[in-house]
Symmetry: C2
Subunit: 341 residues, 2 copies
Amino acid sequence: MASSIHDLARHLNISIGTVSRALNGRADVNADTRQRVLEAARTLNYSPNQSGRSLRQGATHSIAFMLQPHPGDQQYGEPFFIPFLTGLQAKLAEHGLDLMVVMGEPGKYQQERLRRVVETRWVDAVVLANTRREDDRIDYLSKAGFPFATLGRSQSGDDSYPSLDIDFERAGAEAVDRLVARGHRRIAAIRPAHDLNFGYLFLDGYRKALQRHGIEIDPELIASGFISEAGGYEVTPQVMRSKDPPTAIIFNNDAMALGGCKALAEMGIRPGQDMAVIVIVDTPLCRYFSPALTAFRPALEPMGQRLAEMLLASLPAFGGPEGPRIIREVWPLELVARDSD
Amino acid sequence: MASSIHDLARHLNISIGTVSRALNGRADVNADTRQRVLEAARTLNYSPNQSGRSLRQGATHSIAFMLQPHPGDQQYGEPFFIPFLTGLQAKLAEHGLDLMVVMGEPGKYQQERLRRVVETRWVDAVVLANTRREDDRIDYLSKAGFPFATLGRSQSGDDSYPSLDIDFERAGAEAVDRLVARGHRRIAAIRPAHDLNFGYLFLDGYRKALQRHGIEIDPELIASGFISEAGGYEVTPQVMRSKDPPTAIIFNNDAMALGGCKALAEMGIRPGQDMAVIVIVDTPLCRYFSPALTAFRPALEPMGQRLAEMLLASLPAFGGPEGPRIIREVWPLELVARDSD
DNA sequence: CGTTTTTCCGTAAACGTTTACGAGAACACA
DNA sequence: TGTGTTCTCGTAAACGTTTACGGAAAAACG
């Protein structure tokens, strides 16, 4: 069915070696024959077989992004990643690399899938997201010497991989600053459980800012739960049970914020009026929620592009480890003031 | 770096042929040696190289889903597809197939990308979405004889490919029924432009239902625009300029509905109070918008699973065209009554 | 015109698998 | 014991590329 390089060579009455060289833009081929080869390739509808090509070259020219929906996330679904992926894909494409998103199964352990992708040499590098503080995926890739980059920081691995993260610490601190400036003293923080690193980072910023303002850190005002609407719904009442309940809540996650607002509403507390609410990572839902949620917004598409650059700079085939080693970057967020605080 | 089948064979002092047969579960290998091979494979951390494997077999055991963000969709990003992909991936994995999402560039013509994927034999089959009435991607795949399935109907191709769609006609009709039952007679319909097929299907149902109720179809109440918030914002005022303006609007798309509601608000018209609003395809945004938007919800994850089954049944390697040929299915939507109508 | 350089192309090996084929050994059967 | 069958494994070809190597022809040079 599909035409091979042999068909092309036979059709042109030249050797396959010449055809290959012509197509790959090598110098040692006559300009005239190159013309003819390219033309024939177009008419015969030839493109080199990916498997043959990568087998010979030992490179697939494609990068995997490991996407794993949170369990029970049936209706929600990570709108966060699409703009990021758009940027990532665009920049990779500039260098002739293809991006493929590898879907994991919601509940399952992603490690297994990652191993398959790596060991079977499907791709030349992988990009990870939702990094945890201790992340066995990172440890594995580090140890295996497989090229990768992460969206999000971690304490794992040998520290020599590119990573790009959002400045959750600063966002947490700025959220506190903003609320304090508006007269709040009892400020709660709600973050995802598990070991997701950004939850810790956020909390650090939150704590430091409170100290800076001379406000005591009350453990009763800090809670964590599943990173989902249900999680926010479940955990928000906890901080409200304090003897001296909060007048403001910072949510580290939009899904949890939505669930939290629902819980508040059921307690007769109106976000934006009776309770100030700030969300750390903005998504479309924050904008359309009522009241529209004040949130910190990352520049997702540029971040995707940047991480692609950083990954490329770490690949031997693209300038490699000799070039300038830009290992870690942390990007600021932009506050989008809305109606909830 | 990565161990090959030769390493394994050398380590066990047997031939690579036997190793391969042992790993692939063939019958003509001694139970004892198979044991040893499997064990060695585990300790040596061996997995067969994907490229070598597919080159030899002429099959990659992976399926591509072509995802293309709408242009300018920076913050929004198709939450629609994640649950669908989750279902698709789960069912494919049951049969040892891998799903990879191939990202297109937002504005660009997807055809080119598709051709590359197909011609380089990256995958064994593809799944398309956002089908158009005349869809050159489908024509291309049909003509090329490349296996594929579509989420959404089309008039293209040779009609022998599996497709699964939502019953937009019925949803359009039911939306009208519901509004008429609540006393509305002036009902507008807003759909995406381009040639997106579901826009036409929706409109058919809308028209038929109006006729059934003996309500005249007023072209002034029908409009189409870009499938985005901006599109809805831009086009909604058109139907409001009618001499006898609508008292209800059916949006064929959540993004357009959000833009439309914004436009209405700016005209001092409150959705849910001064204007009934129904959305055809529900997304999380509909639920969180204020007022919460009444919408029709598809069962995305089961749909993903089902389309995987249909695709598999059409693949020669999996029972193939001999088996029962389930070619087309149309699934109903479920009405989720909220506050906007 | 002889020599050296350059230009261009064909040959063949290699990448890591899978699999058709055949052969030796063990076994069953008469 | 001779013959046919079964079990197990090694050999080698093939999948479609890319690329190192070498050689013939053409060009450049003296």
